[in-house]
């Protein structure tokens, strides 16, 4: 397979993982199990009743930073991506963050007295970050995603009232895209505080695990926000346009 080409419905599912093992947790989040044999992406998605276009959008966007979806966006409902993104939010908050907190707590227990102050500082720093992350994700879960669902419902029911155009114009997804903050910066700082500035600590193994998790979360968040910017936002813009056009026509 040409490495420059995006994954297609015909790509063998096993090849997807061989090509990019970082897709393992992503594919896992779709609930897909191994033992693909020689099946294609299309066949596996069919078995799991997953919209293959949506699946490809997600893995291609994770796999290739330059990948930019176009035609494919029309092939799936927005609710799919909203569900996927909120599941991912829950995964960060319920799995990844507690994992990192656990490592920090372990280090706190085992660290020498003179380094305890530093670990406490890092711990507070991460707690503060966690609060910001919760707020950031919560805003998307409670304001942005419901807005998107509302857009899709409105279009489906074709129940266009006078207020709709106003709402679409005022709350447009572009506003969200413009203010979409970068949540990776503090994680990167935390990594550097440990790698470059923390005096050597006794519990090296836990510290290594902590660092690896920080790297993974940072990369995952980066990919996640890229999907929000490159898949969600264009898809929602499309919906908004359809509504505005439909309103004008009525």
């Amino acid at each position: 397979m040409n490495s420059n080409l995006p994954f297609s419905p015909k790509t063998k599912m096993a090849d997807v993982i061989h090509k990019d093992y970082r897709l393992i947790p992503i594919i896992g989040r779709f609930g897909i199990d191994y033992g693909f044999s020689n099946k294609s992406v299309n066949e596996v998605c069919g078995e799991y009743k997953i919209n293959v276009w949506f699946f490809l959008e997600i893995i291609n966007s994770y796999h290739n930073k330059e990948y930019f979806p176009q035609e494919e966006l029309k092939n799936f409902n927005t609710s799919l991506i909203v569900d996927y993104l909120s599941n991912t939010h829950a995964y960060y908050l319920n799995v990844k963050v507690p994992e990192i907190e656990g490592y920090i707590a372990q280090i706190k227990n085992e660290v020498s007295i003179d380094n305890l102050k530093n670990i406490e500082l890092l711990s507070d720093f991460f707690s503060e970050y966690n609060l910001e992350l919760i707020n950031h994700l919560d805003r998307e879960d409670t304001i942005i995603f419901p807005y998107i669902t509302w857009l899709e419902d409105t279009l489906k029911q074709r129940n266009f009232t006078a207020g709709i155009v106003k709402k679409v114009k005022e709350e447009s997804i572009e506003q969200y895209a413009r203010h979409h903050e970068n949540m990776e910066m503090k994680l990167s700082d935390l990594k550097n505080l440990i790698i470059r500035h923390l005096p050597p600590i006794i519990c090296k193994e836990i510290c290594q695990k902590l660092l690896i998790e920080l790297f993974r979360l940072e990369a995952d968040l980066e990919d996640h926000s890229r999907i929000e910017d490159k898949v969600l936002v264009p898809k929602v813009s499309l919906l908004e346009q359809q509504i505005l056009i439909a309103c004008e026509a009525e």
Partner: protein, 192 residues
């Protein structure tokens, strides 16, 4: 610095970008090539010029050479719609650049040779950088730090950039942790 664009709305746009990246220089504006030239000629301390293609006319490289001839130390940032006439002695922004690219180019434009640090990149911070770091970590704004240390805001920004590069820490919260870790400040002194 000087903003040279024909249209008021473009000049306003540049000012907005400056405030986004936190740079507040003394501003001069020009709306044609002649006034741009006299601006460069008359204002001695002028170092940066953001200039639109419409000011430079069809022969961009010739116009750039003319401006450079008045003051060879001047730094030019040119906003244009294509790169075919680009030269090495200026930085270019395309009208098709994304928000991110535009902001990065502006930052690079102002920071490239603004380096006043005396230490090597692997070394510790200079004394002045430590003063700035302490103030940043305590929660002071760039303006407050400039007043406190009797330096210009641009110098504060330049120090901050060097600090971030040397320490690998970008956020204020991260710098505060670093400063407390190294006993540069006391946590109870941090402004909330």
């Amino acid at each position: 610095m000087c903003i040279a664009c024909k249209h008021f709305i473009h000049r306003l746009g540049v000012k907005t970008i400056l405030s986004v990246i936190g740079i507040e220089p003394d501003l001069f504006e020009a709306d044609d090539f002649t006034s741009t030239m006299s601006c460069i000629r008359e204002i001695e301390e002028l170092k940066f010029v953001v200039i639109a293609q419409d000011i430079l006319g069809s022969d961009m490289s010739k116009s750039i050479l003319k401006l450079n001839a008045i003051n060879p130390d001047i730094k030019l940032l040119i906003v244009c719609d294509d790169f075919c006439n680009c030269q090495d002695n200026a930085l270019y922004i395309s009208e098709y650049d994304t928000r991110q690219q535009v902001l990065e180019k502006f930052q690079r434009f102002f920071h490239d040779d603004n380096d006043e640090s005396t230490e090597t990149s692997s070394g510790l911070l200079s004394e002045r950088e430590i003063d700035v770091l302490k103030a940043v970590a305590l929660g002071y704004s760039n303006k407050e730090i400039a007043d406190k240390l009797f330096i210009s805001i641009n110098t504060v920004i330049s120090h901050r950039k060097n600090i971030t590069e040397k320490l690998g820490i970008k956020t204020i919260a991260g710098l505060t942790v670093y400063a407390v870790m190294h006993d540069l400040i006391k946590p109870e002194d941090v402004k909330v």
